[in-house]
Subunit: 231 residues, 2 copies
């Protein structure tokens, strides 16, 4: 299930490498398309190439890295069509999840999520942006979890990892952030009224808006992402 807030120290190298690379890939701290040098990274993580490659294989099947035989692994490129596809699928999954949650979730669970979101919204002004993104992701994930479908959550977790950067840029726009947070609250209101259909529709338009913003951002601002390299 993997609560977003829980964290455990990975004891084995594969897990360590996985966490480290995943964090970098999610936030695009690697230049898109950049080839990953195995010996260099292995040295930096103080391990040999074997566990590193195992971790890289996992990340590649998750779509966070790309792999070409005899050329190794590289950071995925950011593609507008890929982002659009991911947002579309995400909307399908989340809307269906909301409908299911309206039927299956206990009232207490909905209230818990509502309380969580109120707290996040209240401290919004003083919360750093990266944390806000995490809270946003957690909200959507917890909502999906209320549908009682573990596979849906898994898939959304994967999608989240791949659109994290876009999401961040979205929320950096204060107007959009306010809108977005209000939409979350609106979804919860409908769910608490038992209106799964309404919640689903609102969620869908919420995501459509975000996707549209994302498309603009990507068209205009790819340069920024390519520039933002930590290495």
């Amino acid at each position: 299930m993997s609560r977003p807030s829980e964290a455990k120290r990975p004891t084995n190298s594969v897990e360590r490498a996985y966490e480290a690379l995943r964090a970098m890939a999610v936030r695009f701290e690697l230049k898109p398309g950049e080839r990953l040098n195995e010996v260099e990274i292995a040295k930096r993580l103080a391990m040999s190439r074997a566990p590193l490659r195992e971790a890289m294989n996992r990340l590649a099947t998750e779509g966070l890295l790309t792999f070409v035989p005899n050329q190794g692994f590289s950071c995925r490129k950011l593609s507008a069509s890929e982002i659009a596809s991911l947002y579309e699928v995400r909307a399908d999954l989340e809307a269906a999840g909301a409908r299911a949650a309206a039927l299956r979730a206990r009232r207490g669970e909905l209230e818990e999520l509502d309380a969580y979101w109120s707290k996040v919204a209240a401290s919004q002004a003083t919360t750093p942006i990266e944390t806000l993104v995490a809270r946003d992701e957690e909200f959507h994930l917890r909502l999906a979890a209320l549908s009682g479908n573990r596979e849906r959550v898994r898939m959304l977790e994967n999608i989240n990892a791949r659109i994290h950067f876009v999401r961040r840029i979205n929320l950096e726009n204060p107007a959009r952030l306010r809108e977005s947070f209000a939409e979350h609250a609106g979804v919860l209101v409908r769910l608490l009224q038992g209106d799964g259909e309404g919640a689903a529709e609102l969620l869908r338009s919420h995501l459509a808006l975000s996707a549209e913003e994302a498309a603009v951002v990507i068209r205009e601002g790819l340069a920024r992402i390519y520039a933002e390299s930590v290495a």
Copy 2:
């Protein structure tokens, strides 16, 4: 995109191991829960453990194997709730895909798929069951591809791999097979009429039926799957 019918000889060991293990895992030719001995499999595939482990990592993230630190990889267990979750998500994705396909697909593409399915249906009586399952999977995948959303197809491919066995048992029931094939044809009719909503609804009920049958099969017949071991 990975057309279901195309096949290329993998040159590197990782790919070879991946294909081999995936085929076995998909068809449950490994006993559920069975621990996979790395040295033994490596010997059988005539390679060392390193590329084998890389392949296993990929399969684990796809949900076809499970991994426990210091206990290695094992064949996933068949879980009724997991199957139910997968069918639910699958229905969401395919229904949404059908709606999108009605808007985006060219008429020629729809007719092509229709022709494909007519051919499959015509030779149904003389086609071995395992092939029929493959054709069924291909139909659903091609339909999803008509939505123009590559990620949707990817996710459905993953789901297909994980429910392959259940699907097969479903189609082994001649009555259900006939029904199922007719439902496919019905979906295509609606799509050709431009009725995306109708196609989506029919698809959804088609999958709900299959899921229900699957649930029964799993409840009653887990023994069969556990017995069917090739190793």
